[in-house]
């Protein structure tokens, strides 16, 4: 088959330069010595000027981590990680905190500028890159507040004052520990306990920075919040921790993006994200994950081992995860919802694209505990090149969750015959008063549809992009408008050279 041969050749051509975020920024960086031990944990805690209880919390996690074994159940294959060969803290030298945007080193601002992330508020007002702010649309350009995390520290958070007017707290988690210790104490680790799993425990011991959001009762957050994670320094890992609390009746939409320079080594990213939605609250969490995936031979790339979990604690609360996963050499990630509240709702929309030698084992967990809780899972996986991708999900309905409903659909698309696509959905149901449905398909791009699109004058690559976009449309629709365009572009880039 000619098309297959072409695919193989195209995949071979897949060059690293497709990844446009692969540059490094020369910044005077302070890097902690490599190794994982009590000293390093104390060092990180001291660097961040943390209260004593936080240090205890970390040390306890470290102790537990040292007794745990690495999980092996995921369908990913990588050489053992030497946890002593990683530096657990890296920060631009000028200091871990900047009082205002004017103090942030020019190199870092330029770095984010290159990434298309505006950090100066006046620029933000001009619109986010990728936003369809055409003149025809007379609507106001949406504002997006950004928390920028550079290696281990949050360098700047924009629109803080404006958010404060609405009562919304949006800051780095280190600041939150200092300024709102009660909130942090109450909620940190309440969704993902310290010893939840291997990587979450590691994160609990060494996490550096991340974002903290608190939306007070009845407040609809006036703008999109976002965090941009950038891994820059060599030989380091990034271990951020995000905590978002939507109090009764509150609403917040949050987006995270991530990139890293191209390096031959594998960098570890082990984050923990905790979401808490109280009565009638809603959190919408969107991710565009584009860590460096490694080159076509599988050299380098980020190991993305992330624990993300939302707790629908209150009645009628809702948590929605949307993810576009195109980066990372290895992804191990299951954004989940604990549907504790009565009539609470969990949603998971995912597009995962793997190409080259990427491996992704990703999916979600919906734990139905509350009466009338509902969930919806839409997962679209696209495998190309020599990559391997697994959807792994759990829908669990407890005996008390009468009236629970779940709908799951996971579709996989294979492009080329050297890749793999797998589906592993777990279902556990303990009440007859629940309705659970699951559908999954695995196919390749339809020759008929491709032919049809080409008849209409599209070249093969454009036709493929069109069909792929159709395949993932249900998920793209869930992204905030401003980012849907960007995600669409990202899909195109990720699949470039894999036409089959």
């Amino acid at each position: 088959m000619a098309a297959v041969k072409e695919t193989i050749e195209d995949v071979k051509k897949l060059e690293a330069d497709k990844y446009k975020y692969g540059f490094t920024t020369d910044v005077d960086t302070e890097v902690a010595p490599k190794g994982l031990n009590e000293g390093i944990v104390r060092y990180i805690s001291a660097k961040k000027d943390e209260p004593e209880w936080m240090l205890e919390w970390r040390l306890d996690a470290l102790k537990r981590f040292q007794e745990m074994a690495e999980p092996k159940w995921a369908k990913v294959d990588y050489p053992p990680i030497d946890f002593q060969d990683i530096s657990y803290f890296a920060a631009p030298k000028a200091g871990a905190k900047y009082e205002s945007i004017d103090d942030v080193p020019e190199e870092i601002l330029k770095d984010f500028e290159k990434l298309g992330i505006p950090l100066k508020e006046q620029e933000v007002l001009l619109g986010v890159k990728g936003a369809a702010a055409s003149a025809a649309e007379a609507r106001e350009t949406p504002k997006v507040a950004v928390d920028a995390v550079f290696d281990s520290v949050s360098v700047v958070t924009t629109f803080k004052e404006e958010l404060a007017k609405a009562g919304v707290i949006f800051c780095s988690i280190s600041e939150a520990m200092r300024d709102y210790p009660e909130l942090v104490k109450q909620y940190l680790g309440s969704v993902v306990p310290t010893t939840d799993n291997y990587y979450a425990t590691l994160n609990s011991a060494v996490f550096s920075d991340g974002s903290f959001v608190y939306v007070p009762p009845g407040v609809r957050c006036p703008m999109e919040l976002s965090t941009y994670f950038r891994m820059n320094a060599e030989g380091t890992g990034q271990f951020e921790r995000t905590l978002i609390i939507a109090d009764k009746g509150a609403y917040v939409s949050y987006l995270e993006g991530c990139t890293a320079p191209m390096r031959d080594e594998n960098q570890l990213h082990a984050a923990v994200v905790e979401l808490i939605a109280l009565d009638d609250a809603e959190i919408k969490y969107s991710t565009v994950q584009n860590w460096w995936p490694g080159d076509e031979n599988g050299k380098g790339g980020v190991y993305n081992f992330v624990t993300k979990r939302g707790d629908c604690r209150g009645k009628n609360s809702k948590i929605s995860w949307t993810q576009v996963e195109t980066g990372s050499a290895i992804t191990w990630k299951y954004p989940s919802c604990v549907l504790r509240g009565e009539n609470s709702r969990g949603e998971f929309y995912s597009i995962a694209v793997t190409n080259g030698r990427q491996q992704a084992d990703t999916g979600t967990k919906m734990i139905h505990l509350g009466k009338g809780s509902t969930s919806r899972i839409i997962s679209k996986g696209i495998s190309a090149g020599r990559s391997d991708q697994t959807y792994r999900g759990l829908v669990s309905v407890h005996a008390k969750a009468e009236g629970a409903r779940n709908f799951t659909q996971c579709d996989s698309l294979l492009i080329g015959d050297q890749c793999g696509a797998h589906t592993v959905p777990y279902v556990e149901c303990k009440t007859p008063k629940a309705v659970l449905e699951h559908e999954a398909t695995t196919t390749k791009l339809s020759e008929d549809q491709l032919f049809y699109a080409r008849q209409r004058g599209l070249d093969e690559e454009a036709a493929t992009a069109l069909l792929v976009n159709g395949f993932v449309r249900e998920v793209l629709q869930e992204l905030p408008m401003e980012f849907a365009v960007e995600a669409q572009q990202l899909l195109k880039v990720s699949l470039e050279g894999s036409v089959g």
């Binding site: 159940w73 005996a399 996989s412 294979l414 492009i415 080329g416 015959d417 050297q418 890749c419 793999g420 696509a421 797998h422 589906t423 592993v424 959905p425 777990y426 279902v427 556990e428 149901c429 303990k430 009440t431 007859p432 008063k433 629940a434 309705v435 659970l436 449905e437 699951h438 559908e439 999954a440 398909t441 695995t442 196919t443 390749k444 089959g500």
Partner: protein, 345 residues
């Protein structure tokens, strides 16, 4: 992992396998090292064999019988024969094993019945090989004592152009694990796997299967349906693996189950592992309760609730049994379901 302390059942199993060769030696080794599988083992997460065999100590007698007579470790079927295969066991730990071969181009039918006594723990191993263009229909009826434990594993090798059709019905027990592992050569070969479980209070049944497609153009259809009463647990774990050479595989897996009561439990894991791009693979899984509208409608027509319920469950469950070629046999199996449903009402 430290050295484990063996349960009496494990110790008896180890003694029974002592000095054995071939697969028995490997099995013994595994039990010595890890014991019987517990829910901590991923593949046994909903069927804790070690726990279920607590209290079973002495050795028992288990074995396969063909048309009522004892048989050797291997048999060959063909020429359109219909054979009755019985797996029987007395209380205690027993091991049974049999190899069945259907030569190229031959056709056969196997009706397999399981009769395990209370307090029996049987680990059985059936190896079936189908030659090129051979056809085998296997109908399994598992009516074992509520207090028996069965870990029954069947491996089937299906050659090119061969047809393997399996229909199984299980009424469960303390723990009933029915494993079917098919190696599917494709090239016109077809595999049908149908299964039904109907579990009265407190029973457990587990249908676990893998179908590995190794050659191009294979067809696989799997339909598993179940109904589960209070404190009973139905488990379905299905896996389709499509190797890179198995292009144009057409495989469909469906599991549907009814929960008849509060405190019923159903666990399912329908899995796809695919390395070929030009394939059609799908799986569906749906769980729920009896449709109250249908029930209401039938009661309006004058049926008692119990009768209406039984009819709805029966019509739901019999779909996989349509696979059974012989009408008399199909009727017999459906009749068994009806009797059980009557008892459960």
């Amino acid at each position: 992992m430290g050295v484990i302390t063996h349960t009496p059942a494990e110790q008896t199993l180890i003694d029974l396998l002592d000095g054995a060769e071939d697969w028995r030696a490997a099995a013994r080794e595994a039990v010595v090292k890890f014991g019987l599988p517990t829910k901590r083992a991923e593949a046994w997460k909903w069927s804790d064999l070690r726990r279920a065999t607590q209290g079973i100590e002495a050795a028992g007698v288990a074995g396969y019988r063909l048309d009522g007579s004892a048989i050797g470790p291997q048999i060959t079927l063909g020429a359109g024969e219909e054979m009755m295969l019985d797996l029987t066991a007395t209380a205690g730990v027993g091991i049974a094993a049999l190899e069945i071969h259907v030569p190229a181009g031959q056709t056969a039918r196997l009706i397999e019945r399981h009769d395990l006594a209370a307090g029996a723990f049987v680990t059985a191993r059936l190896e079936i090989t189908l030659g090129e263009a051979a056809t085998l229909e296997r109908v399994v009826i598992s009516e074992i004592d509520a207090d028996a434990v069965g870990a029954l594993r069947t491996r089937v090798v299906v050659a090119k152009h061969a047809k393997y059709r399996q229909s199984a019905v299980s009424f469960g027990s303390k723990l009933s694990r029915h494993e079917t592992h098919v190696s599917h050569a494709g090239e016109g070969a077809e595999v049908d796997l149908g299964a039904v479980y109907l579990l009265a209070e407190g029973r457990h049944a587990d249908f676990t299967s893998t179908v590995t497609h190794t050659g191009a153009g294979g067809v696989t259809r799997q339909l598993v349906k179940g109904a589960v009463a209070a404190h009973a647990q139905g488990v379905f774990q299905g896996k389709f693996k499509v190797e890179q050479a198995a292009q144009q595989t057409d495989a469909k897996m469906t599991h549907r189950a009814l929960m008849l009561s509060d405190k019923a439990e159903i666990d399912a894991k329908p899995e796809l592992e695919i390395y070929a791009d030009d394939v059609q693979c799908a799986h569906g899984n749906a769980l729920g309760a009896i449709d109250e509208t249908a029930l209401f409608y039938m009661r309006q027509r004058g049926l008692s609730e119990a009768k209406a319920r039984a009819m709805l469950i029966e019509s739901f469950l019999t779909e996989p049994l349509m696979l059974i070629e012989s009408e008399t046999l199909r009727e017999r199996v459906t009749g068994l379901l009806r009797v059980r449903l009557g008892e459960m009402a």
